[in-house]
């Protein structure tokens, strides 16, 4: 089984006044194909920093990030943008869909940005919407969708360009329990089916049963704990 995402010895410090604050300290993580890893931790523990570095939005002070075995730290701004477009799928806290695009257009936009042909983009979008049980809302605008539906579209959008890795940033934060469970179940199904590596930062303990591993971010590094549910 291969690891689609590997983080080696990631350290990140921030200048805080005249002191240096170490947010991440030699953090290591390997996520295998088809695996969904939950990352938990109190606020201020560095979850956002961790996600930003893994998601090619922020450079670590030292350490290495490998996507499909390829290091991303030598890349320039332009290449990183391309990388986020093609290799990484983001699912944000409150879906963050584009308000003036309908469901289908949300997906076609990212395919178009990656240079996919319109006809194949339409086919792929239909397929993903069907898998997410959203085919009937194809022409709806985000304002007409429920929170759970929006998050399902966000998952479909993240998968559109067939990325290596998926990152979810508190995807259930604005959903009620049953909707949240539904969304994470779908995310987990997709990760398994499409052989992605996925990392989900969450507070929500109810969704942990759908995760393969649960890690805690403490003292700048990830610690594995048993799940008691």
């Amino acid at each position: 089984m291969k690891n689609r995402l590997e983080l080696h010895e990631i350290t990140r410090t921030f200048q805080d006044g005249d002191k240096e604050r170490k947010v991440l300290d030699k953090l290591n993580l390997e996520v295998a194909e088809g695996e969904l890893v939950a990352v938990m931790g109190p606020s201020g523990s560095g979850k956002s920093t961790f996600l930003s570095i893994a998601g090619a939005l922020l450079k670590p002070t030292s350490g290495e990030v490998l996507l499909d075995g390829e290091s991303i730290l030598t890349k320039n701004k332009h290449e990183l943008s391309e990388l986020r477009l093609r290799k990484i799928g983001f699912i944000f806290q409150s879906a963050n869909l584009i308000p003036y695009l309908n469901v289908e257009e949300q997906l076609i936009l990212v395919a178009k940005l990656a240079g996919m042909k319109k006809s194949s983009a339409v086919v792929r979008a239909k397929e993903l919407l069907a898998q997410m049980g959203m085919s009937h809302r194809q022409t709806a605008y985000p304002e007409k969708l429920s929170g759970g539906e929006r998050q399902r579209i966000a998952i479909a959008r993240a998968l559109m360009n067939d990325p290596s890795v998926l990152y979810a940033d508190e995807p259930t934060a604005s959903l009620d329990a049953s909707r949240g469970l539904e969304v994470v179940r779908m995310l987990s199904d997709q990760v398994k089916q499409q052989r992605k590596s996925a990392v989900m930062v969450t507070h929500d303990e109810r969704v942990l049963p759908y995760c393969d591993r649960v890690l805690f971010l403490e003292g700048g590094t990830l610690i594995e704990k048993e799940i008691y549910v």
Binding site: H78, S81, R84, F90, Q93, P99, Y100, L113, D169
Partner: protein, 374 residues
């Protein structure tokens, strides 16, 4: 493209509002430009219509045709340098006339030209100027409004000279007064009469106000050297020195310049505010891999579509207005002026959008992580 067009379709109200403002501003720009051009033409039409490249005026006449005086000798000298077919004498005199039928006085400008020469205007009705017919003149058609017709006798108030209106010309005026064209022979009669009136001296030579020439640059230098007591000015300089011309155009140009600045600011501020509203949205788009250049293009495209769209609407409006404007409001918007104004308007709008583009470039994709609301 994809984003820009869909957003405008989605937020119709918002973009309709900006379009309305842009239409009003660009309409005003075009309308004032047309009025400025119309006034300019109405003011100086006769000089503008002349095919001369330069005018020879008396030294120290301050470029003013009405102040200058040149004599027959100077005319002959000039004609020998540029060729007799390229030099024409021109008499200009502003005066007041009364017509026999009407009681109202009319301010006019007398323009004396060689009836066979290239300064002679084309008559739109009646017969053209002719040396054979003494005391016959052509007048601008605006004088029809005062009840002047073909055959009407008009009397110069200063010299009490009488002329018979023989025909009408179109768009001939000087310093906003209608032009009256007379022949060289009538001009010399008029001079003789005024001089007799003033001093009883009939011996003096015939004089003109200026010599109109068609000349290349080198010939102009030859003229300057050969005629020491004169100045050779371009047609544009002669037009600018027509009484009231520079002042009128100056104020209008200033209004136009301000309108350009205002339209740039209105569009710039509007788009800046909209861009700031969309900061988090742009952050998300950047996080999922949209390049800054793509977003910047999207914003510029919206500005381009809006400014060109509103410009087209206002061109239509201006054309409609032009059709219903009364004759007393001179309006002229030629194709080249229209094109220049339109291109400047779009260019100025695009410069205004740079502000927003710069804002888009500043947005950090990192904002997308850990954010609660879109």
């Amino acid at each position: 493209m994809y984003l820009a067009i869909r957003e405008m379709k989605f937020s119709k109200g918002r973009y309709l509002l900006i379009t309305t403002i842009a239409v009003l501003v660009s309409f005003l720009v075009l309308f004032v430009t047309g009025l400025a051009q119309g006034l300019a033409y109405d003011n100086a039409a006769s000089v503008k219509n002349m095919t001369a490249s330069h005018f020879i005026l008396e030294q120290d006449s301050n470029h003013r045709l009405t102040r200058s005086q040149v004599d027959q000798n100077q005319f002959e000298k000039a004609a020998s340098i540029v060729g007799s077919e390229n030099a024409e004498p021109l008499g200009v005199k502003m005066t007041t006339i009364v017509s026999d039928g009407a009681t109202e006085k009319i301010d006019v400008t007398l323009l004396a030209v060689n009836s066979e020469g290239w300064l002679a205007p084309e008559a739109i009705s009646g017969s053209p100027l002719s040396d054979q017919k003494q005391g016959h003149v052509l007048v601008d058609q605006k004088m029809m409004d005062y009840g002047v017709e073909i055959g009407t006798i008009i009397i110069d108030q200063a010299s009490e000279t009488k002329w018979i209106v023989d025909g009408f010309v179109k768009d001939e005026s000087f310093s906003h007064t209608p032009a009256v064209f007379l022949t060289k022979a009538d001009w010399s009669d008029l001079q003789a009469q005024s001089l007799a009136h003033l001093a009883g001296n009939q011996e003096r030579d015939l004089t003109y106000n200026a010599i109109a020439v068609k000349a290349e640059k080198e010939k102009v230098n030859d003229l300057k050297n050969a005629l020491p007591d004169t100045e050779v000015i371009t047609k544009a300089e002669a037009i600018a020195a027509i009484p009231g011309y520079k002042e009128e155009q100056g104020s209008l140009m200033m209004m136009i310049a301000f309108l350009f600045v205002i339209s740039a600011f209105v569009l710039a501020v509007f788009f800046y505010v909209i861009t700031i509203q969309k900061t988090s949205q742009f952050g998300i788009l950047k996080a999922i891999g949209t390049r800054t250049a793509y977003l910047a293009r999207s914003v510029s495209l919206q500005v381009l579509v809006l400014s060109i769209g509103s410009l087209l609407i206002s061109i239509l409006l201006v054309k409609l207005f032009e059709a219903v404007l009364p004759n007393s409001m001179p309006f002229q918007l030629g194709f080249s002026t229209l094109l220049l104004t339109s291109v400047s308007f779009v260019a100025v709008s695009l410069v205004g959008s740079l502000f927003s583009v710069w804002q888009v470039a500043k947005i950090d994709a990192l904002d997308a992580i850990g954010r609660t609301a879109a």
